[in-house]
């Protein structure tokens, strides 16, 4: 359904991700060498057990004592240098990856909710700002700064192939930056336990060539088209008459609430309910019929619909491309 998904910190597709991958490998290599050295020393110590018990255990041998002091001192020194070097390296990488905000490029605002992501595209021109959910599109090669907020509890934003983790904390704003190097679909996941459906709080980052991205953005800026087919018209009417409008927005209709995801172009998304299901008319109907069965604990309540309403609303939503 969604094409090959990339989700691995060891398979980076951005300069920031590459630096983090290098850091991971340097740490693994250095720690591996240290581990090996310790194991070898241990093996030697076990193998070279004392040949015979010393006649007088408490007797001091000045020369041996001095030699051991020097060896232990040198090893402590080497350990300290290694730890300091790794700490410094980690700090330097973090500074380069997370450092000063990018002046140029694109700015997004992502708000974490239990258990979905609200995404706002900012623009100097107010008419070009819009809100979507769970799927972020970015142009390849353009630096992107994402401001991160949380609505309820702490979440963590993590798209392993593009960047490190950054927490979303209620009452505070953090930010993270990345530049997608290649077109592709990168999967991300909330990385801080945030309640019952933490595991179903995924998102997709779709990196596209600039013309494709511009086309996508122009599509998202538009309000929802009025439906032409009778079934979808019935769906719109049912949607507007039901509790849906207390929580959801469909731009171009009277539904304008922001408690749940913006549905203006929900049919254009690849997944449903933050990566829980692939999006199709069938899964939309399944979701509306039993949200608490699909994603138990989700903040989307079960709304009683008769079968005709259910079908009509699913058709309406699926057509919101």
């Amino acid at each position: 359904m969604v094409g090959p998904l990339v989700q691995s910190a060891l398979d980076p597709h951005s300069p920031q991700g590459e630096r983090l991958r290098d850091l991971i490998w340097i740490f693994t290599a250095v720690c591996g060498v240290v581990w090996l050295a310790v194991m070898i020393a241990l093996a030697i110590a076990v193998w070279r057990r004392r040949a015979s018990a010393a006649p007088e255990p408490s007797a001091l041998e000045r020369a041996a004592e001095l030699r051991l002091t020097i060896i232990v001192g040198a090893l402590v020194g080497m350990t300290a240098v290694t730890v300091l070097a790794l700490t410094g390296l980690s700090y330097a990488t973090q500074k380069r990856v997370l450092g000063r905000p990018l002046a140029a490029g694109m700015a997004l605002l992502v708000t974490g909710h239990q258990w979905w992501w609200e995404v706002e595209y900012k623009d100097d021109e107010p008419a070009r700002t819009f809100t979507t959910a769970n799927e972020i599109h970015v142009p390849v090669g353009v630096p992107v700064t994402i401001r991160l907020r949380a609505d309820d509890v702490i979440h963590s934003f993590w798209v392993p192939s593009l960047m490190g983790k950054e927490d979303l904390i209620p009452g505070r704003e953090n930010s993270i930056r990345f530049t997608a190097a290649r077109a592709g679909i990168y999967r991300g996941q909330c990385a801080e336990f945030c309640g019952a459906q933490h595991a179903h709080m995924a998102l997709l980052v779709v990196a596209q060539e600039k013309p494709d991205f511009d086309a996508w953005r122009d599509g998202q800026i538009r309000s929802a088209d009025d439906p032409n087919e009778p079934e979808r018209q019935k769906g719109l009417a049912a949607f507007l008459a039901k509790p849906c409008v207390m929580c959801h927005a469909v731009r171009g209709t009277s539904a304008a609430a922001r408690v749940g995801p913006d549905l203006t172009h929900v049919g254009s998304r690849m997944t449903l309910a933050a990566g829980t299901l692939p999006l199709s008319r069938g899964t939309l109907a399944a979701w509306l019929a039993d949200p608490q069965g699909v994603k138990p604990g989700s903040q989307m309540p079960f709304v009683q619909l008769d079968p005709d309403e259910l079908n009509a609303i699913s058709a309406y939503l699926e057509g919101l491309k």
């Binding site: 009452g171 509790p243 409008v245 039993d290 608490q292 604990g297 309540p301 009683q304």
Partner: protein, 164 residues
């Protein structure tokens, strides 16, 4: 030993998270046999905290503020124009009231109306304090719901301890 187990058993009811109301429950509410159902909501921490979340989401605050009242009356004083049982509050929210309380019939699901009603009662100390929400992360203009003193029994016109 039984003494040690008792609070644990009581705790189960507090903690139970029912995401989907059972169909018989939905029917019972519809048929007006609702008076015995209140306990399910009043003693349950999950329903109360959902109610608190929805009270903010559906903008009850816009008119009642954090219980202190504004355009709408205060909800934390345990003085009710239209009755203070959970069924009364449910009716107020679902059907609306003549002097400016809008009706949420068909706008909020029944399950959520019950959760909100239970939360409204927690603002005046009318729910189990073991299950009521505790303090917010941000500044709050009144004590947390679980620290609200239990009101005197109905009919007793003792002076109010808290003013808005």
């Amino acid at each position: 030993m039984p003494l040690a187990i008792a609070p644990l058993v009581a705790g189960c009811e507090r903690e139970d998270r029912q995401y989907r109301a059972d169909p018989p429950l939905l029917d019972a509410r519809g048929a007006g046999r609702q008076y015995t159902l209140g306990e399910r909501y009043l003693n349950n921490a999950y329903h109360l905290s959902q109610g608190k979340r929805l009270y903010a989401s559906f903008n009850c605050r816009g008119c009642h503020f954090d219980g202190g009242g504004g355009i709408g009356p205060a909800l934390m004083e345990n003085r009710w124009i239209y009755g203070g049982t959970i069924a009364d509050i449910v009716a107020t929210i679902r059907e609306g009231r003549p002097n400016g309380m809008p009706s949420f019939r068909g706008k909020i699901t029944d399950e959520q109306i019950w959760e909100i009603a239970a939360y409204v009662l927690s603002m005046s100390g009318n729910v189990s304090s073991a299950a009521a929400p505790n303090r917010d992360d941000h500044m709050q203009g009144r004590p947390a719901e679980n620290r609200q003193p239990t009101p005197p029994p109905p009919g007793d016109e003792a002076p109010k301890l808290l003013s808005p």
